[in-house]
Amino acid sequence: MDRAFQRTKILNNHLLQSSPSSPIQSPPLSSNACLNYSPPELSEFFAFDVEEMRRIIDWHHMELRDHLFGMISRSKLFNPRVRGGKVFVSPDFNQPMEQQREITSKRIDYLFERGVFKGWLTEEGEEVELRKFASFEALAIFDHSLGIMLAVHFFLWGGAVQVFGTKQHHEKWLKDTETNVVKGCFAMTELGHGSNVRGVETVATYDSNTGEFVINTPCESAQKFWIGGATNHATHAIVLSQLNINGTNQGVHAFIVQIRDANGKVCPNIRTADNGRKIGLNGVDNGRIWFDNVRVPRENLLNSVADVSPDGKYLSSIKDPDQRFAAFLAPLTIGRVSIATSAVYLSKVGLTIAIRYALTRRAFSLKPNEPEVLLLDYPSHQRRLLPLLAKTYAMSFASKYLKMLYVKRTPQSYKTIHVFSSSFKATFTWNNLHILQECREACGGQGLSSENHVGQMKAEYDVQSTFEGDNNILMQQVSKALLAEYVAAKKRKKAFKGLGLEHMNEPSPVIPSQLTSTTLHSSQFQMDALCLRERDLLNRLAVEVSRHQAKGLSKEHAFNMSYQLAEDLSRAFTDRAIFQTFAEAEATLAAGPLKDVVGMLRSLYGLICLEDAAFLRYGYLSVDNGALVRREITKTCGEIRPHALALVSSFGIPDAFLSPIAFDWIDAHAWGSVQH
């Protein structure tokens, strides 16, 4: 009997509530025994040491992360709920916005009381910086709102005081910030200006008679907008404002303005309003601020870059306004680094849930009376999830590179950090949203339930593609920086140095017309192919921009007109940069089962990069080779399938931070679990 007919009959039986044994002659359909949840731990085999793998991808402050996880799982404030015999912690996203904000504040107080933030602003050095990243990554797994409230307080407010301020500011504010006596926010964006910070309309005018700055919101478009903490939480704000000295605009500068007193009452001449309910992140009280000629003492100008003397003279060690402005954006870099790295951890959560579910959920039998097939045993399901697993491993290695670049920064490495943090922030956050969406769909209807996290996290983390630099603009900055390197190298006839562009100095790699499977998987070939694409796109972009310029367009206009190539190039740069960190990590491992699995993941990541349309669009790969890439992806997914559980277990996300469908989802939904 053909399958369609059989299926119709089953459906018919369902509808008519009749017994499956119908008078029609057909193979008897036995009623299925009840499904049992079979824990994947008992059937899947770990070919490598998952703790060792976690050490490689987490690589710092693992004990601290676990301590934070443990601390969260121990308190009622984190909303523990028992499902299927296990305790899960998660914010209650069904609560009204006001309650979400209130509980987020209480959670922050709890963490302060336990000394989690000791030294965050008063200690210096690599260790404390990495400690902050690790904590932020761990807390972000619980809730984005919690992470963002802390990021605003420590990275934006605290970071600005550290970077823009001088000794007097450090002494006055850092200790109080670290102990939560002062609650900071960062008032940069306005209703009329977001990415274009240099265009903000807030004005600070110096009054030499009183030695004060007068800060004013001159028009509605100048109201500060989206300011995290502004509605209820913050007592102080860093205000980015144009500085007006005797009628001359000296550009954007940062000022400290108290907006509330210790009792939470808004200060005179300040007005605040709520930004209202958002699609996610409702634990953060984003708000708006108007300044009605607020007077602050001269010392409240954060003066590391520029100062105003008591008699009103403008003094700056940096003469070039462009450089001065760049210095102001420095605190945003730590924000980008932490956004990029935390996004990877959300992908880890999503994939752990979706893959664990796919290892326990079955659908359809290949033959009648056979058990149904596990989702992850479908090649199509493997193809959906396992490349994303490889991508998440790739991002983990790239995160390590980015964090090291940041903590070992020097004044000379500022440009490199800017390019890599922009590229990785945009790419990781985009990847994360894509990964969460695929995981959501791979969990079927279960993915829609907010208790299962994956779907909810999409809304909570969507904002990552916008704040601390719009992703599209960040990627344009990457291409701009690459183009500038190119122009400079050609002009001075010097070799490329930095940003990983050294490969441009070598002869162009050649891709064989007939690729073999072995070649395709080799690290060297994959690297060559990625370099070839980057090199060619950079050449093309330079040609196109100069073509536009030759027609009389300005440099900026010419670049805007070449946006398609710029997009392709920034992706080419990013893929190559990420891949490089992956290949280097693989190379340092000792031979053994762990290295073998990392090699498979690296290979799969390389292959999915080669699937980018640019390889066919610009002819780097022939159509035949493109088809071979596709076949090899399927094959590699099959090879990684047996390691799927071990690979997600290596992420080290504690059970309590996953969700009921990642475990015994049958018991979690049993009648006994229903609130009668």
Binding site: P39, F69, G85
Partner: protein, 383 residues
């Protein structure tokens, strides 16, 4: 009936009552300390019962005033002196395998904790589905005073107690009575000892492995007595504030800060207890509980086996042997710990207790396969 399956001299007495099996620890003079022989016998019985459809329930109890006072550590030290550290490791391998089997057992285990239940005794009961405390119960995990750490899966069951109570019990070896055990969840029921014979008879009439059925039977004899006013469980807020700190040193200074704020005998006793315990033990115990909080019971036992092998091997510290000497053998109660101070023990040293033992003949604990059994949800949740 009982005599048909075991003799008076057996260390574990076995009674078959319809669908129930009653196993009684029978070394009352040693407070039922678990010998290698007892562990082997329990393992054998539990394995056989799991395949036997005529067994639906296993009851564990102890003869005399103790349920089980722990592993027979004195014998382990003796074995190590005679046969090297691996003889000691072997004891724990067998014991932890039993603990895992109990934790993942497909049939309910009811442990009647009518007396002392310490160390290995907790390993033989806490992993089971039902733990019945009485007014005679006396709980402790006293390993840090002995140069060991809370093992037998304690990093799993202690870490899941409310707040940071598990850290408190594991580090200080604090003692609990039956009411406190019930309050914190170590016991599932409290039954006055006078009612135990009736409870036992009722359980022996059960023909089901359904936990709800068994729970309601025990429930019929249960009471919910209230905590004594001075109970440590009424100090959960102080315990949470102090024992949530990241390191042992920070826990101690948090306690000392509390002691400044108010005169409280309990706080100073707690500080004294911590100062008397092996510094190495304290550090590895805290780490073990913290890591265990995030692990399933299997990985907890595998890790504890690594740790206990390192302890037996004595590569980083010989505190275990010193502790046994001072507490169990010479009984001078004055162990000389080495390293003697918390600050002398680096994170790297602590890390090394969690690594594989570098020895050709040593292997990680191999957990028995459980996939062929239809495990109940309360077991699956522990994996």
């Amino acid at each position: 009936m009982a005599s048909s399956v075991s003799s008076q001299h057996d260390q574990v007495l076995v009674e078959e009552k319809s669908f129930a099996r009653i196993l009684t620890f029978n070394r009352p003079k040693q407070l039922n300390a678990l010998s290698f022989q007892m562990i082997s016998r329990l393992l054998e019985l539990f394995l056989a019962y799991e395949d036997d459809p005529n067994v639906k329930l296993v009851i564990l109890k102890g003869k005399g005033r103790s349920f089980c006072a722990g592993g027979d550590v004195a014998a382990v030290v003796h074995d190590i002196r005679a046969g090297g550290w691996k003889a000691g490791a072997n004891f724990f391998m067998k014991e932890f395998t039993l603990n895992y089997l109990m934790a993942t057992y497909s049939k309910p285990q009811v442990s009647i904790l009518n007396g002392i239940v310490m160390g290995g005794g907790n390993g033989a009961s806490m992993h089971g589905r039902f733990r019945v405390a009485t007014e005679n119960s006396l709980f402790a995990m006293p390993e840090t005073a002995l140069g060991l750490f809370p093992d037998v899966g304690a990093s799993y069951f202690l870490s899941r107690l409310p707040g940071f109570f598990g850290e408190y019990l594991g580090l200080t070896g604090g003692r609990l009575d039956g009411v406190e055990m019930l309050a914190c969840g170590l016991a599932t029921h409290f039954v006055p000892s006078a009612k135990l014979p009736m409870l036992e008879a009722a359980l022996c009439a059960v023909d089901s492995s359904d936990p709800a059925t068994i729970s309601s039977i025990i429930g019929k004899y249960s009471e919910r007595p209230s905590l004594k006013e001075q109970s440590v469980y009424n100090r959960l807020d102080v315990i949470d504030r102090c024992f949530s700190q990241k390191t042992v040193e920070e826990i101690l200074s948090a306690l000392e800060r509390e002691a400044v704020d108010r005169r409280d005998g309990w706080i100073s006793t707690t500080i004294q207890t911590l100062k008397k315990a092996s510094p190495t033990s304290l550090k590895i115990s805290l780490r073990s509980i913290r890591v265990g909080r995030l692990q399933g019971v299997g990985p907890c036992l595998v890790r504890e086996y690594r740790m206990v092998s390192h302890v037996m091997r004595g590569e980083f510290s010989k505190d275990f042997f010193e502790g046994c000497r001072a507490i169990l053998l010479d009984k001078d109660k004055k162990p000389k710990w080495e390293p003697s101070k918390l600050e002398l023990i680096t994170d790297t040293t602590v890390d090394s207790y969690f690594s594989k033992v570098k020895d050709e003949d040593w292997e990680d604990l191999k957990l028995p396969a459980r996939s062929k059994f239809n495990l109940p949800p309360y077991v699956i949740a522990k994996l």
